[in-house]
Symmetry: C2
Subunit: 254 residues, 2 copies
Amino acid sequence: MSQTVDRALSILPLLAEGPADLGRVADRLGVHKSTALRLLRTLHGHGLVYRQSDQRYRLGARLFALAQEAMESLDVREIAHPHLVRLNETCGHTVHLAVHEDGEVLYIDKVDSRYPVRMYSRIGKPVAITVAAVAKLLLADLPEGERRAVAEKLDYPMYTVRSTPNAAAFLKELATVREQGWATDLGGHEESINCVAAPVRGADGRVVAAMSVSAPNVVVTADELLTLLPLVRRTADAISGEYSGRTPVKGTAE
Amino acid sequence: MSQTVDRALSILPLLAEGPADLGRVADRLGVHKSTALRLLRTLHGHGLVYRQSDQRYRLGARLFALAQEAMESLDVREIAHPHLVRLNETCGHTVHLAVHEDGEVLYIDKVDSRYPVRMYSRIGKPVAITVAAVAKLLLADLPEGERRAVAEKLDYPMYTVRSTPNAAAFLKELATVREQGWATDLGGHEESINCVAAPVRGADGRVVAAMSVSAPNVVVTADELLTLLPLVRRTADAISGEYSGRTPVKGTAE
DNA sequence: AATGAGCATTGCAAATAGTGCAACATACCT
DNA sequence: AGGTATGTTGCACTATTTGCAATGCTCATT
C-alpha cells in the first residue's frame, strides 16, 4: 500500500539471508543505489539494520529486542510455560508451544529434551505447516472456507515419504484432527521423529495455541510416544482452563 | 531520512508496549488515521504487524523469524556456544555472551544456571550498559573519542548504591577494564548479583564480544566468584582463538 | 428495534516527500 | 599513478503520500 515502506521492509528478509552491500540491496530491490541508501539509512536509524565494519549491512540489534518484547506480551506463552516445563520433567522429551498467524505457524516456546539426541527447532522459526502436528491442530480449527483457502495456497514439500502430499490429503487430515481433538506427526517431517499434539482453547472454545511432545525413534517408538497422549491432552486442557480464566491459577493470590 | 518509512518504523516500538488500535497509533504518530492505517497495512503485508481478532494491532510473527535468522548469522555466537555450555557445566552458573552495536549492548546467547536461583535476563534484551561487566569490556575497547562520546550520552540510573553514577566514573572504570583485560559487576545492577567477564577478540585484537559468569550472593560470594576469573578468561581466549582462525576447531575435519 | 456514538475505511485533489540522474568522493587494486 | 568499483550528495521532476470529508460498520444504550 505504501511503496516506500514496502521497499524498505523488503530489505529485511533480504538481509536475513546474510550481509549485503549497497549495490546488492539496490539490485535486489530494483531501485537506484541512492534510493536504497536512503532506505537503509532510515532502517539504520531505527536500529533494524546494522552497518558492519566492512560497510556491508546486516540485520540490527533492535530487531532482537522487538521480537523479545513481542514474545513477552503473548499471554498464552506466559501461562503455558510452567506446564510445559512440568510435562518435560515428567516425560523427558522436547515440548513445543505454537501459534497460528496469517497462514504461518510458529513456535513460541520450547523446553528441550533431557535426552542427548535432540530435534532441531528454534523459537520463532516457522514450522513445516503441512506436516507438523501443532500446525494441523491450529489450521483444523479455522472456519471451513478459510481452511480450504489456506490449504490450496500451500506448498506440499515431500520431506519424507510420509509427508502430506497435497491439499486434498491435508484437508482430509485436518477433518480427522478436528474431529478427534488431537494430532500426530509420525515421521512426516523427519523420517525418525514423531510428535503428538493437543490444542489449547480460549474461553470461546477456539484453538489459540497448540502444544506437542516430540521424540526421535531411537529414544521411543511411535507407539510408546502415543501412550503419552492422555498426559499431553490433560496438560493442554490445564493450560486452556487457566488461559480462559476457568481455573484459578495455583500459587497466585487474588 | 525517509519520512514515510520513519513513521512506519516508529510504529514497531509503539506496538512493542502492547496491542493498540488505529486511533491510538495515529495519535502517537501524530498523523491522520488514514495515514496510520496505510502504514499499518504495509507493515501487516510484511508480517511485521498482526491484527488480532479485536481489530487491534500487535507485533507480528515475521519479526521472530527475522530475529532468529539474524541471530543465526552471527558467527561469534556459533563458535562460542559450545564453550559457554562447557563453562556452565564446569561452574554451574549462568553464562552470557554479549555484543555491542550502535551504542547498545545486548545478550546474544545464554546458558542458564544449574542452581534454582536464577538471574533474570533474556537473549536479545539490551543490557544495563553502565554497570554490566560485559558492557564495560565492549565499550572499553572503543577508540578514545567514541568512548567519550558514548559515555557522555548515556543515562546513569542508580540501580543500586554501587551503580556507576556518572560519565566520569564510567570512563575511569573503562580505563581500568581496558588496562586489566577483564571486568566485574559487583552488585551494580542488582544488589545481590555479581558477575565476572572476559573479552573475545578478533584476529586484529579488537573486542568483538564479551562473556560473563553471573551468580547471586546466596549461591557464591563475590570473592568465590572471582576465583573463577582465570577459567572465564581461558574460555574467552579459546573462543577468540577459534574465532580469529588461529586455533583449529576440535572435532571438525578440514 | 431503533438510535447514535465510536471506530475503521475509501476516494480525491493538493503538495509534499521520494525518486533517479549525474557528478563527486573515496577506497582498493593493478 | 591510473583505473575500477563502491558509496555519497545536490537537484529538478513527478509519482507518492497526505489529510480531509464522507461512508460504512459494529456495538452499546434506550
